[in-house]
Symmetry: C2
Subunit: 209 residues, 2 copies
DNA sequence: CCATGTGGATAGTGTAACTATCTATTATAG
DNA sequence: CTATAATAGATAGTTACACTATCCACATGG
């Protein structure tokens, strides 16, 4: 198909597609002449993925680029790819050396150990959780850490379901895409479901007034 | 304290504070003369809250405004406030009437019912989950819904821990702030912990190579 | 008293994500 | 075979957002 049809099918404005091509999010079409190119179903699929990451996942274009690059890296083992995707999705917590943060980091590491998780100790996510703890302490909520135990427990189940799902996909390239989609869409879904659970739990606890 | 000290203490540039005052995120100080005002610990606390919502929660200023307005609403019962905060935090899914979406909505409602949750059926979060399902189906992942069961299960525990935490705070205004912080910071922490769990689970499952 | 700090108004900056326009082609419907 | 529409690529413009800077008249405090 030609670029116009691609845009119509995916519901994306033509100049936007050109923009994605310029930014390298979308691979160029197969040229048939100086000003003509053909786009196939892979382009359509990729374009839908891009839009989904931006609209549902709220990712900036630059991060979409990183994530797609990780998917496209040939011969990357799945767990490396997972790391690359995570890194692409992560907004690293601001680096700081204040003692409160160091302490918070240790608390997170202890939670990881207590749950028997195998996690590289230079994972950026540890710092994210640590910065959440620190910020909450600054705001007068030092007790929030106790809640995190439940989060770890819950995430254990969630991660197993997630990994089960992508493992079942079988074909490597589907698995790679599955990891990205599972990470990003799963996060969006999880946040929404958690809020539904809040609504329900507080409704039940504080009476049907 | 004066505005300069407020900025220094909170680590926020003075023009930024003026900007937040203009936008109504921060209430004005207590005027002592035409061009002087005093700021107290409440202002400092509020300013830290604003920065936290923006930096950790990634909220746009406009949403911070909505959320703060919900906190400040006097005499609002907690569950109403929770709804207002959720609405403030929510990026509503694009409205659409395609049949796939209607079907996805029904799937979500079935999940809600199966878990016995009490949720208003016009909650925006239902549409968010539905749009995630639809998007994933479009991208060739119609099976992802099966994973959501685990998400619901997990969120049940999480929400109980969350509600326990804020209920323990006791004082109303602390509870209100706790709801905001728990929602926003909890979401950030949860996403990070989930990714840690992914790392661990896939490391264990796919061998210590 | 006078350098420094302030409130309020207005204007400017930088980035991100498009969106529009232009030119030289090429495809294609009539 | 021609007139219309579509296309690739380059460049420039737009919009929204979150600050950031400058100005002024006035106030504070060493």
């Amino acid at each position: 198909m030609r670029i116009g049809e691609l845009g119509d099918t995916a519901g994306v404005a033509l100049p936007t597609i050109k923009y994605y091509l310029r930014e390298g999010l979308l691979p160029p079409g197969h040229r048939t002449s100086r000003n003509q190119a053909q786009y196939d179903d892979d382009h359509l699929r990729r374009l839908r993925l891009i839009r989904a990451l931006i609209e549902v996942g709220g990712l900036p274009v630059a991060k979409v680029h990183d994530v797609l690059a990780a998917i496209d890296e040939p011969g990357l083992p799945v767990h490396k790819m997972l790391g690359a995707v995570s890194k692409g999705l992560c907004t690293p917590a601001e680096a700081t050396h204040d003692p409160a943060r160091t302490d918070a980091r240790r608390q997170v590491e202890e939670l990881i150990e207590r749950h028997g998780w195998q996690v590289s100790d230079k994972t950026a996510e540890i710092d994210i959780v640590a910065s959440v703890i620190t910020r909450l302490a600054e705001l007068g909520h030092p007790g929030f850490v106790t809640v995190l135990d439940a989060y770890f427990e819950a995430c254990q189940r969630i991660a197993e379901a997630d990994v089960d799902y992508v493992a079942r996909l079988g074909k490597l390239e589907d698995v790679l895409e599955g990891v990205v989609l599972g990470t990003v869409f799963g996060e969006a879904a999880l946040a929404a479901i958690r809020r539904l659970a809040h609504q329900s739990t507080s409704a039940k606890r504080f009476g049907p007034a």
